[in-house]
């Protein structure tokens, strides 16, 4: 009320209508906090999925170029049984590329795994485990055992968590593999991993490339695919294209391999924004109503202020600053409440499930979303106030004084 007379008047208006101001504040705070909660939760899920995806998928995967014979089914009846030729030469070439962090040759064989009465269709990935571990982040995903133990246990096998559970085997247990061609071999479980993606954990097993070579059988130096980890995963697409054209192999980047997961990430983001914007729009309507009501009931005051020397701009300032204050305080409360809600949600235990590996709701805390929330909160308070304030600033004091 002292130095900034317009703000002083705005303050008196806000304080003298405590209930209305409180309702407006609550609306903004509610919208902002729910936006933050929603986006933090969605981002938590997305981060989890991205991490699972990136750690279980190589940045670039090379496959044999089946060329025109795409429909041709290999002798084992499995897709992916075509071999990349001259693997060693190709590996050396790719390794020399400065963008490449690690490469790993993989022999993949579909087979049926037995353990007691249970039999399951499984994809066996024969790998040189020390090289593969540089491509896939296996070591951080082990539930039991060490992935690197595979290196000196020639008949060892690493099973996905879902797979191990269904086969009902644990560390040290044995499983029998049958190929469609009728060959068989026994393996001992040296580790169980969980990437957190059901379709990997339920159907994937890693073993030494030599074991798979014998089982197939394949020639030394043959591989069904080559896994590549890049220094910068964002270059995956261009690397895939350049390798593909240079060496005449089929190359797939991780985004293409995981297109369906990426699509769900996008869908979730869109949904989150739609829902939280809808919340804020509703809060905005509330504020529009309140400010409009205030201005209508303050027409006489506006006329007085104008006759004693307040300009249209002053009048607009009086009402817009009320919106701004509601927006700022509401957003601040909303951001705090959003943080509280997110914090609380991150402590709620997630119903256990074999497809996901988190035990609590995944929530990400990013300053960026709090800033966006506050920005939207302030914008949804200011925008609805704009029209009524302009209307108020143009009010002709005469029309009120004449009455």
């Amino acid at each position: 009320m002292e130095t900034f007379v317009n703000l002083g008047i705005a303050k008196v208006h806000l304080v003298s209508r405590k209930r209305q101001s409180f309702i407006a504040l609550t609306g903004v705070a509610f919208g902002v906090s729910l936006y933050i909660l929603l986006i933090s939760f969605m981002e938590g899920i997305n981060l989890y999925l991205m991490d699972s995806m990136l750690s279980s998928t190589p940045d670039v995967q090379l496959l044999a170029n089946t060329g025109n014979s795409k429909s041709e089914v290999g002798p084992s009846g499995n897709i992916g049984s075509d071999f990349i030729k001259n693997t060693e030469v190709l590996l050396d070439h790719i390794r020399e590329d400065k963008n490449v962090l690690a490469v790993s040759p993989v022999l993949t064989q579909q087979c049926i795994l037995f353990s007691g009465p249970v039999q399951l269709n499984v994809r066996l990935d024969g790998v040189k485990i020390n090289e593969e571990m540089q491509v896939l982040k296996l070591s951080g995903k082990m539930i039991s055992g060490n992935a690197s133990d595979l290196a000196y246990k020639s008949n060892g096998i690493l099973l996905g968590k879902g797979l191990a559970d269904k086969l009902n085997v644990g560390m040290g247990g044995t499983v029998t593999a049958f190929t469609p061609e009728g060959r068989m071999a026994q393996f001992r479980v040296v580790g169980v991993f969980r990437f957190g993606l059901g379709f990997v954990d339920n159907t994937r097993a890693f073993l030494n490339i030599g074991s798979v070579r014998q089982l197939m059988p394949a020639e030394p130096g043959q591989a069904t695919s080559i896994h590549i980890r890049l220094k910068d995963p964002d270059k995956s697409k261009e690397m895939a294209e350049s390798i593909s054209s240079r060496y005449g192999v089929k190359a797939e980047d991780w985004a293409t391999s995981n297109a369906s997961i990426l699509a769900t990430v996008t869908a979730r983001n869109v949904l989150t924004y739609v829902v939280s914007l809808a919340l804020l729009v509703v809060a905005g309507f509330g504020i529009y109503n309140i400010i409009n009501l205030t201005i209508t009931s303050k027409m006489k005051d506006i006329a007085i202020l104008k006759s004693i020397g307040f300009t249209g701009r002053d009048i607009a300032t009086v009402f817009l600053s009320q919106c701004l204050v509601i927006g700022l305080i509401g957003s601040a409360i909303g951001a705090l409440a959003g943080f509280g809600f997110s914090e609380a949600l991150s402590r709620v235990s997630f119903p256990s499930s074999e497809t996901v590996s988190f035990s609590y709701f995944p929530v990400s805390f990013k300053a960026r979303y709090y800033l966006i929330g506050v920005f939207f909160g302030v914008a949804t308070s200011l925008l609805p106030g704009l029209l009524p304030s302009i209307k108020a600033s143009g009010t002709d004091p005469l029309s009120i004084l004449r009455r």
Binding site: V12, S307, I308, G309, F310, R313, D314, L401
Partner: protein, 230 residues
């Protein structure tokens, strides 16, 4: 420049509901320290004249000068600033801001003008309220005051920026006789202290207190009444 207000050939028309002329070629001038009333019956055009002179109504023909400055043709914002600095208003219905205290109401035009520190404005406002015998109501919400009290606060508000001219629109129109007498005395005192006042009224007693009085009839200034000039 002894003329505080000069109005030349004011004509004003209403366009709604039908075209009609409210002010007919009104010319008047006001000396500094003069207390003038404009009397007229309801519908005579006295309020319309008041709003034109007060620069609130810009839809007229003719010329208006206040303190030697030409008001005609100024923008709304320029007029608002001019009113803040040079004109003090007193309306019939007090027109205080209801959520503010008596003191705040008086202070607002002063704070708006920013010629003085807010502490200085507060002191001035307090002094004016004391002068109106309203000192002990300074912290009351204006909506809690009686009509006569509100009008006295409104007068204090009109005086806060030491205006060159005080314009009053039926300042006693809504008051009982006791309060009317108080307001009359205040106006007389203000005039004696050298303020320039133009007041619209329909009260003959009020006219007699003034230095001079005009009568407005059917939109024309029709007569000039000598008042209680000392």
């Amino acid at each position: 420049m002894n003329k505080v207000l000069i109005a030349e050939h004011l004509n004003k028309y209403f366009h709604e509901p039908v075209e009609s002329q409210v002010l007919h070629d009104i010319s008047l001038s006001l000396d500094r320290s003069q207390f003038v009333t404009v009397m007229g019956k309801s519908g005579s055009g006295k309020s319309s004249l008041m709003y034109v002179l007060a620069t609130l109504d810009t839809d007229y023909d003719g010329n208006l000068f206040i303190c030697g400055e030409r008001m005609t043709g100024l923008t709304e914002n320029q007029l608002a600033q001019f009113r803040n600095r040079h004109i003090g208003f007193i309306f019939q219905y007090h027109y205080l801001l209801p959520e503010f205290t008596a003191l705040q109401n008086v202070m607002i035009p002063g704070l708006k003008l920013k010629h003085k520190s807010s502490a200085q404005v507060r002191d001035d406002a307090m002094a004016l309220l004391e002068q109106m015998q309203m000192g002990k109501f300074a912290e009351y919400l204006s909506s809690k005051l009686s009509g006569g009290q509100q009008q006295r606060v409104a007068i204090a508000r009109a005086l806060i920026n030491h205006p060159d001219i005080i314009m009053a629109d039926e300042p006693t129109g809504n008051l009982d006789s006791a309060n009317t007498a108080i307001i009359f005395d205040i106006f007389r005192k203000l005039a004696d202290e050298g303020n320039t006042i133009i007041a619209i009224t329909h009260d003959m007693d009020f006219v007699r207190k003034a230095d001079a009085g005009f009568e407005i009839r059917d939109g024309s200034l029709s007569s000039y009444i000598e008042g209680a000039k000392k």
